[in-house]
Symmetry: D3
């Protein structure tokens, strides 16, 4: 059996979160899948808004570029805003899947309506825009924020985790939803336990994306290179962007 | 490694097509997956409209019921209209995925826009309704019909296959689409070759659904049993529907 | 004056409800209209979900087939989910109208926004899907469920009727709606009284559908037989479906 | 049998068209229905744009006011843009139905998709806006204009009628539509013959609206007077608008 | 510097409101802009529904006609329902902007979501229809009504103003909105102060429309005269509408 | 009169295009407006896809940050994909307007439908996504690509300009549109002449954005700092992103 190598890219620079994400990914990866969990060397320690996302996107593109050179088979963008998704698809030959995208897609296969539980209220708009872009506005009942920063999920107290749990219980009771999507890569390790406790599918995007990329690779499918996701038209880049220049033509 | 048993249900009674579908499913199934390909004993030989779909749906529900009793892990509805999908989800505890649904979902992960190539013109409306229900109206550029009946795909002449091929080539050239979805379970064996020839993802729903169900099962996720997809409220059924009565309570 | 014969099909097997529906239909039928109220011999005693609907759809198709052979002029599907609507249209030459459809259409002619009061919470999603399919998502303010099973409307206590009444009063007060649609065929006899008490149009689908079919017949219009609602392509059917085979060609 | 009096309001001042419309209405009216066909004393001779519509709307409101005082039971706005519809509903206690609205509603009951054939290209946008307002954007395949002014339908040569016919034939062949809606009150007398010739429902709004108003009246339903369609808040009006002042309070 | 002359049309006949609106317009007009504030001689003293709007639209069209003859450069429709907007555009060569339109457009440039605070509940539907027509349904979180008539804003007590203020404060706290649009021309003088007090953009349509028309004129742009906003096809008009006949051809 | 300083940011590094854009901006700027035209020191020479946009977004954010420190009053993102728009809004206190956004908004004020003429086919999807995000899907008839790279507009031959002109003429003739939006900052200098030649509004986003920002500033309005466009939560940034750290706290 050939080994598939899937690169899970944490777009922020938090090593703790990169580890949480990597573990969640490995937990569900198939026997023949190798998970590489990476994060950019420079960037934001957490992603909680559009500015953070723009920087996170650069980190994603850097890692996709390096991953492609190293021959990985597929990429996962492990931040719930899926920063840089379409740009990353231009760079990649294999599949690129965002964790928000993966979780939302799967939720619609298991329930007629789902709700989302995310971190800060200011990220709600990002989830809303993704729902619209992916086509799932009608399938989402509500987007809830626990009003704690992303990194509170890594502070070791479990307080944020408890808030997530409470909000999921509330959402199940009040939203008329059949499934819940966890709206942050840092919640990746909570899904299985919450699914058990609540008795409904609670979906984490990291693990969902791993299985989705495996599924696509299992079909021999990669990102379309015809049309608007073709490789970027080659251009000389300078400064911090020189990394993207094709080394074979320099 | 536990073996997963996935039941691929051809909603029509064509044994040739059931075989085509089963082979396509087995071709992509993971090592640990057992594919059971089944079709109803009574019904329509092919599904080419809403009436055919209503009967196909009964066949699907019959097979889901039998499959659940036999302890299968997941179900696939292998007709491009996904007949009986939500009803089947009520009956099942594991995941149930339609082949139109699976193919459309995957297409949106690989290209910004996809087109569909189906059989008879009268099935176009069915695809349109599904696109709307699943949220992918914006992602679909066009739905093409080759204007041949479903069973022409099983007549051994290859004529229908040639028409599918030509229409895919046309769609790539004219539709501004990055991927093509094959709109009939009977086209399941064409996807891989056409992907190669056209150089874009050509997606068959049968194989897509197999990987999607494997993905969901790999995450330990099944259909939500909370809310509107819960088991049907038990009611005494008679005549041809007696098969659905719970044998344990009779 | 020629007599028009309109067949009101209760898709479930409850004789009490078939009678309630038939009476509601006759109450509003024009002098020249004969109402035939029928229900399938086998099926579900009430329809409260997608599985029930799939079986109800078969009952509808059976009765439409028999009605067509008997030369009825039009058909009404008297269950608020309009099960089997498009399939029934394929079978019929005259008009086929669902009661949800009829009530929703009429509500939009009388008020800028309407609300729906239905039975079990699990049927809310069915109403939501119909609103989307018919184009009335924007016109509906809310869908309420009284959380009682359909057959409680036939238990003779009047308890369910009282709950419907209370929910309608609430909806008028809170929803910013100008009309209310009753979301179950079993509520057919409540509309006129509630309209009076509440002082707003409270619309029952059964009587609405009778007038709608009369309207279409009065214009000499039937279901389009060109394109995707043409008669099903003839196919040999076996088992419980043999009833659909054209007797003239056997 | 009580006689119902339905007022068919031609919003323009063309007496020829008022007569065509009145005849079409009477042709389909039930035995117990009296049709009053009226038009405003001042206004535009034909309606072919937004400005014409604004003036037509005043004519509609004048006639609705007079009709209400005379105790008519319902109103029809017999211009395909349905000018003044919501304002007229505020004034009326009975139902008010526009001919575009009536025809579009009925078309969706008979076919999965319909096309519209109208007069001047500049009225296409009016039809488009109505489709959006009524919820039927998805149900309409195309809006065609014969590129002749409205009054060419009254010039006695039959040339415009021939163009309508040709465009309907084209639409059936090319649009993948199952029904056609005639987009002008002046085409009212063409529907029945074209339905015959084309073999699909060709729907005229005037006759459709008559049957729709009869249907609503047959159910005892009128315009909701609760909320945003309640009678206008009374205000002293002067000049040409003095006609709207309530004579009982002057 | 050439002086631009912008006509601000209050569609109702309230002179006090015409003055409020004129002052708000002048407050923000550029040095080179002359503001003409006008209202129709006959009509409704305030606009609080669809009937009022239909009459207001006639006033707008009268003033646009007079303004065009007097050579004004652009027009503003200073009532939050933008009555007669498309008809006015047919009559004008320069730009015509409604105050609802202007405020909504600007709000989407400053915040991801806005809320609206209007007067009577029955006008909420008018705002909802405009949001849909202009494309901003997704950008609007809520439409609130203070439940006071329009003219209470001119009664000198400040009570209505206080209610507006309270509702804006509430909206900011509860709606998850970043900006507020004031939903009545009579609130024009409140925006700047409320913006200060609340610390978010509170947008008045009158001043917004002045700057929008200045912007369009600054680019040398006027209403498109190609297609469906071309001058109305000339027709002889009588009675109160004779004013619209082209004096140069009489 | 206070001078307003508006910064026009070309997100690519082409100095020629930065100059074209700056000139177009100055051409329409009001007397009291100073235009600063800038571009990033590093980045892509032209923006023709999602990857280019991600890099362009970083350039935008860099320049917005520098501009804010220098006290400019507003910002314009002068690339038709509006890269980094929401992130830039988080950074700015004054208004930030994209040129696609400005042009699209203005087009909807002048015509019922507009078309877009852009450069490479692969940028069509970017325009489509913006139309959806801004709410203008219904207002856009077509998006055309001249199939030439962005920088061909700066090659001095005038060939690309001629292709733009031809495509605009075609669009007017075939699209049923009343206005055209030029889909590239490099076309900024063509709008006025094409408007003249075609006799319909041809709108360039650069000049449109200048007037839009002036309009917002004239009302004293800036980006909402309440909610999801508030300043980014401060975080220590390293490497190429250190430039974004607040110098006052270092």
């Amino acid at each position: 059996m050939t080994t598939l190598r899937i690169q899970v890219i944490n777009p922020n620079t938090s090593l703790a979160m990169t580890q949480t994400i990597g573990e969640a990914a490995r937990m569900v990866a198939s026997a023949g899948t190798e998970i590489l969990s990476v994060c950019p060397s420079h960037g934001v320690p957490s992603i909680e808004g559009h500015f953070d996302e723009a920087i996170g996107a650069m980190g994603v593109l850097e890692q996709v570029t390096l991953g492609e050179r190293a021959g990985v088979d597929g990429h996962i963008i492990a931040c719930f805003g899926d920063p840089g998704l379409l740009a990353a698809r231009e760079l990649a030959t294999g599949p690129v899947v965002g964790i928000a995208e993966a979780a939302m897609h799967m939720a619609t296969l298991l329930a007629t309506r789902f709700s989302i539980v995310t971190t800060l209220p200011r990220t709600v708009i990002i989830a809303r825009h993704l729902l619209r872009q992916y086509g799932f506005e009608q399938h989402c009942q509500a987007v809830h924020a626990i009003d704690l920063p992303v990194l509170s999920l890594e502070d070791g107290t479990g307080f944020a985790q408890q808030k997530v749990r409470e909000r999921c219980i509330q959402a199940k009771a009040q939203d008329n939803c059949g499934a819940i999507v966890l709206g942050c890569g840092g919640m990746a390790n909570l899904a299985r336990e919450l699914s058990h406790e609540l008795g409904i599918p609670v979906i984490d995007g990291v693990s969902a994306a791993v299985k989705m990329v495996e599924a696509l690779l299992g079909l021999g499918l990669g990102t379309s290179k015809h049309g608007d996701l073709a490789k970027p038209n080659p251009k000389p880049l300078t400064g911090p962007y020189a990394i993207f220049n094709d080394p074979s033509v320099m």
